[in-house]
Symmetry: C2
């Protein structure tokens, strides 16, 4: 997968199983740096052609990732967001669910349309924090 919205480098991946992959977004938003994107491994364009099995699994993994992002980044809350269709701001035509860390008075929506492209090096500490969280709660995680 590679385009402006969904660019996955191996070092960005924080979770992967047979059905989905979760990774640090290649761009950061305002005060909500390091948000995570969950995508199905098979091609599903958006919610309109989502399958029941995959959506159930994404729902389950989104809770896991929400906990991880909150704890790893010491965030005050989590917002999940998912766009379908160009008019909704979907630019990568592969279903993707955003998991944003939220902080007090972060004014996220003021910055939502101003994406800041990042380097893999900038993203690395975020991926590391989440991986460390998973290692703490699950010794089998690697």
């Amino acid at each position: 997968l590679e385009n402006n919205d969904i660019l996955i480098k191996q070092t960005d991946i924080v979770y992967k199983d047979d059905f989905v992959t979760a990774f640090i977004a290649s761009y950061f938003i305002g005060n909500n740096s390091g948000h995570v994107i969950i995508v199905p491994n098979e091609h599903i364009e958006n919610i309109f052609d989502m399958t029941q099995d995959v959506s159930s699994h994404i729902a389950q993994v989104s809770k896991t990732i929400a906990f991880a992002v909150k704890e790893a980044y010491n965030a005050g809350g989590i917002t999940t967001l998912q766009n379908n269709g160009p008019d909704a701001g979907q630019h990568a035509f592969h279903y993707h669910l955003h998991i944003f860390p939220r902080h007090k008075d972060d004014k996220m929506y003021d910055h939502m349309m101003k994406k800041r492209e990042t380097t893999p090096e900038e993203r690395l500490p975020y991926a590391e924090k989440i991986k460390q969280y998973f290692s703490r709660i699950d010794p089998e995680y690697h």
Copy 2:
């Protein structure tokens, strides 16, 4: 259920089953009037205490509602959004998933923090459109 964020009147309800209820939000956002909120019928505060069964069901119903909102309102797309914790803008402490109709150049995020309270009469045509959509696709719907 009754507070600023989650106020359900019978006339707002567009879908209900044993596990979830979907209704027209009591406030409108900018150019995205008539968005729908899905809540579990049992008390679940947010994603952090969501159960697997309910999250799978919500995922399935969210697709149904996404289709309905898109078709009934002739929207260009759909954005789903879900806040967890006060720092994420969660003010009603019962899990709720927003299903927003999106329109070309609607600038939704510019208006996200400016909720416009509505009357049940203002919301009625939106509920009617969605109910009419369901009646068209499912003659059993009532």
